[in-house]
Every structure is written in C-alpha cells, then in structure tokens.
C-alpha cells in the first residue's frame, strides 16, 4: 500500500523533510522491527523505572504499610 502525495499546497511541501526509500522500507522490515521491538520496550521500561525513582517516596510510612499488608 503506497501512500500517494495528495497534499495540495506545493509550497508547504517544498520545505518538508521526507524519508528516504530505505527509511520507509526499514519501518516494516521484519528482522529490523523485531530488534526495534526489544529496544523500544527496554527504553519504555527505563522511563517507567526512572519516573518512579525521580518522585522520591517518603519511605517510612509506605514501608510500614507494605509490611502490614
């Protein structure tokens, strides 16, 4: 399924960065995408972990709660 260029404003298009054929091909190239699947998941897990770390918890009260549940 190839996208067709239908944007009517040619002046606008003249200043737009467009992907090369290789870039477009790699977006759905299975071996590469399997690798990216692993990489993106790791990046997202890191963001989640870091978000928890950057919002420091006042440990004491929470730990008490955890122990008693």
């Amino acid at each position: 399924m190839r996208a067709e260029r239908r944007c009517t404003d040619h002046e606008k298009l003249a200043y737009v960065t467009t992907p090369t054929r290789l870039t477009v091909f790699m977006r759905t190239f299975l071996p590469w995408q399997l690798w990216r699947f692993a990489v993106i998941n790791l990046k997202m897990i890191e963001i989640i972990a870091r978000s928890h770390r950057s919002n420091p918890v006042r440990r004491q009260a929470s730990d008490e709660t955890l122990r008693s549940t």
Partner: protein, 481 residues
C-alpha cells in the same frame, strides 16, 4: 474503619480504587461512584472510530470486577461535595445522582476525585455528534458513530465520488491533539486499505503553534547528527501520507459542510468537509462544593475551568517564569487534607505550550495533556498516600510530579500486523524542567521517537495487557502503569 470514595472509573479512578483496595485493611471500605456501567480503555477508541474494533472490545462491565475485588460500586454521577458535612452530620459526604434522578449521599473519610474531563462540545457552535455536525472518538459510542459515517463515505467513494475529510481539534483551547493525530493517520491508512485513498482529500486542523506540539511544547529528538524538533517529523509524516494541514487555528463554528476558523495571524478561513472528526475542549465536570452551613464554596475547591485545585502553584505568571516546581506532586487539596484529585480532574498550574492570542484576542493555545501513563501513575501514588494516611500518616507519603516523571506513548499510525506502523515516543520529564535541562527542558537521551511496525505490535500488546490489568486478573499489580 475508614471509607475511601473514588469519583470516576476511568484510567485514573479505576487505578486508584484498585490499589487503595489492595493496600487497605479488610475493615476499610473502598467505594467507586461513576455514571457508566463499563470501563473503557480510551486509547483504543481510535480503532473503534475507523471500524477496526467494536465498542465491546474496548469496554467491559465494572460491577463483576468490583464485586470480586471487594470494592463497592455506585453507578451514579457525583454532583456535589460537602467536605465539612452539614448541620446534621460532621462527616464529609458527596451527593450523587442515580440514573432515575434520585439523589444519594455517600460519606467518606478520604475522597479521590478522578472524574476526568467534561467534553465541552458546547464551546463551539455546531461541534460534536450530539446535535452538531462533527464526529468524535472520545467515547466508545461516539467512535462507533464515526466508524459508521466513515463506512458511508467509503461507499460513496467506491461509486466514484470524491470526499473531503477534516480531522483535528474543534476549539483554540483543546488538548488531546495526540489522539486526533492518531485518528487522522489511522483514517488515511484505512482509506488506503479500502482502496479509495485516491478519492479522498484529508486535512488536519489544529490549535498547535507548530505541528507535533501536542500541548507539550513539542519535543526534541536526536537524529542523524542533529537535534530535531518534533514538528519536522510530524510534517514529514503528513507530507508522506498526503495530508494537508492548518495550524494555529481556532474553530469558531462547525456548519453542516464546513468549519469557520481564525488563525493567530488574524486570517479568517473556512474549510469544507464531508466528514469531520474534531475533538472538543475539556473542562472539569462541574462538581459543586458546600460548607457545613450549606454556603457554596466551589471556588475554594475548584478553579474557574472546574478542575480541582491541588498542591500546585496557581499564581499567574508569564511563560518565561514558569517553573517545574509549579506542578503539583501530592495532588492533595490545599483546603481539605482528605481530598485529592488525579488524572485529568486536577487543575494544572498553567499550560506547557506557550499560549498565544489572535489579533482579535482569541486564545489559541493547547491545554496541557494528561495522558494515560501519568494519570495512572499519579492515581497509584495518591492511593498509596491515602492508604498510609488511613493508617496514621499525617501527610501524603508519595509524590508524582509530571515535572519529574516521564511518559511513554505509542501513537498508532495504521493498524495491520505486517504493514501497520506506530510512532513510539518517550519524553522525560513530561513538563520541561529548564533548570535541570537548560537547553530544551528535557533529558535528550531519554526523549526519543521513531515510527515502525514494532510500535504497532507494542500498541496491540498494550491494548490486551491494560485491559487484562483493568479486569484485575491475577498478577495485575505487577503490570506497570
């Protein structure tokens, strides 16, 4: 014994109720008050809106889930909060309206407001599917209506007609541009899949100053030796997909076949359409508050936009003086220490994107988004604070500032297991912190984006995993927000 009441059963309220239940003792009660019987995994409404999923695939009934979890469910719309009780009782309570119009009061020791947004179609004449001329994907029913309208357009195109599609936001102060972006690229993909793309003209209309702003002031990505703003990638994708765009626009009116808009440069324009999906602006849901004597104190608890005041710094300041520290971290009401607001229900201190006005004085400025991940992380933090306070902690024990938290987001750009794609993005932090990251306000090594099939697989995975988690199936606690 304490009673924790959660208003709303969306991403934030459901998360807060589930964690509060699991952290509180048996004798403590958790009650959820929410008007609809079903949970909705809102991000997948996009796929309902292009006909790839049915509403039943993005919703499930809440009552059996809450019964199993030991959470009381009151299907009703909260109308008012009485944080000091009244002349008969000193116990705080809320008043909710049941489907048949009867009122019920629900007492609480701790209240978590997670009522999300009111969809303000009324702010633009002719906007919205209920009496207006445009469609929406905010609710599963709206999305199903959009899918049916799309089918009708496709039938006409198959007969040789040319059709004009307009997608974006229906007011200068909208947020959620990311959701509308997902819809337009999915729509384009779907028209290609159905073999009618060559008969469709597709246009994006937005209040963003630049494409790719998404209400977060855009983001900067490292790519091929340059640090590139997201506007470049967004424009590139639109050009590649043949989508035209109108930026910096406030829609004044949606007529039956065209929108009338003004832009920041003062230009007044109109854009004809045969199919328009335009998201509405949001406000709070309009809860009222009363003191013990029955005098109205709504202004004390809520901002003029009806979102709830929390521990943010609401002092009005020009954008150059905005600080990360303005953003709330405990989500506790400054007026009543046993009230919290999470998800979209809390009032942000100000926008993230720089606000602008047109020569006529119209505000054209994306409101700050509060997407699924931060909504759930904030809800979980507040649930823990409340559980700790029930056990005697004097103040909230958890912090979850959007200026110290990242977000991971997958924007679907076409749904197919082999040819589909999605933009995978991470930002850290969500709210730029120019004191820590002077150049662009964010940690560049953790702010990333790319388009590919892998993103689509992750989006599908998230759909199933988050619905599993929301059903509170075994191990749900270990699935991250």
């Amino acid at each position: 014994m304490s009673r924790v009441v959660v208003l709303g059963a969306g991403i934030a309220g459901h998360t807060a109720a589930a964690f509060a239940r699991s952290w509180l003792r048996r004798g403590d009660d958790v009650t959820v008050v929410s008007p609809r019987p079903d949970y909705n995994w809102v991000p997948s409404n996009i796929w309902v809106g292009v006909g790839l999923m049915k509403p039943s695939q993005v919703t499930f009934p809440l009552a059996p889930v809450y019964e199993r979890a030991g959470i009381e469910f009151v299907q009703a719309t909260a109308r008012s909060v009485h944080p000091e009780g009244d002349l008969q009782t000193r116990a705080p309570y809320i008043v909710a309206e049941l489907d048949d119009g009867t009122k019920r009061s629900v007492p609480y020791d701790f209240l978590i407001n997670a009522t999300g947004p009111a969809l303000r179609f009324d702010m633009t004449a002719g906007l919205g599917p209920e009496g207006g001329h445009s469609l929406s994907v905010c609710l599963p029913g709206h999305a199903a209506q959009a899918a049916a309208a799309l089918d009708e357009q496709v039938q006409r195109m198959r007969k040789g007609e040319h059709r004009r599609f307009l997608v974006g936001v229906g007011h200068g102060t909208c947020t959620c541009e990311g959701a509308a972006f997902e819809y337009i690229v999915n729509l384009e993909f779907e028209l290609r899949r159905r073999g009618v793309r060559d008969r469709a003209q597709i246009t994006w209309i937005t209040n963003e100053y630049e494409l790719g702003d998404f209400g977060m002031g855009g983001m900067h990505l490292r790519r091929s030796g340059y640090v590139t703003p997201s506007s470049i990638f967004n424009a590139s994708l639109f050009a590649e997909r043949g989508i035209d765009w109108i930026t910096r626009a406030h829609v004044n009116e949606v007529a039956h076949d065209r929108v009338h808009y003004e832009t920041l440069s003062g230009e007044e324009g109109e854009q004809p359409f045969d199919f328009a999906m335009l998201l509405p602006p949001f406000s709070g849901v309009g809860l009222k508050a009363f003191d013990r004597e029955g005098a109205e104190i709504t202004d004390k608890l809520f901002m003029p936009n009806q979102f709830m005041r929390v521990d943010a710094d609401y002092t009005p300041r020009p954008p150059e003086q905005w600080r990360a520290g303005d953003w709330p971290s405990t989500y506790q009401s400054p007026a009543y220490g046993n009230m919290f607001a999470v998800g979209i229900a809390f009032a942000p201190p100000h926008a993230i994107s720089t606000p602008h006005r047109s020569p006529k004085g119209t505000l054209i400025a994306p409101a700050p988004p509060r997407t699924g991940m931060p909504s759930a992380m904030i809800a979980k933090a507040v649930a823990r604070s409340v559980a700790d306070m029930v056990r005697g902690a004097e103040a909230p024990t958890q912090r979850a500032s959007m200026a110290a938290m990242g977000a991971a987001c997958i924007a679907s750009a076409g749904a197919n297991p082999f040819t589909g794609t999605a933009a995978s993005m991470t930002v850290f932090p969500i709210v730029p912190d120019f004191e820590r990251y002077p150049e662009h306000g964010r940690d560049r090594s953790r702010t990333f984006g790319e388009i590919g099939l892998a993103g689509h697989w992750i989006k599908i995975l998230l759909h199933h995993v988050f619905l599993y988690k929301a059903r509170l199936r075994p191990g749900w606690r270990w699935i991250p927000e």
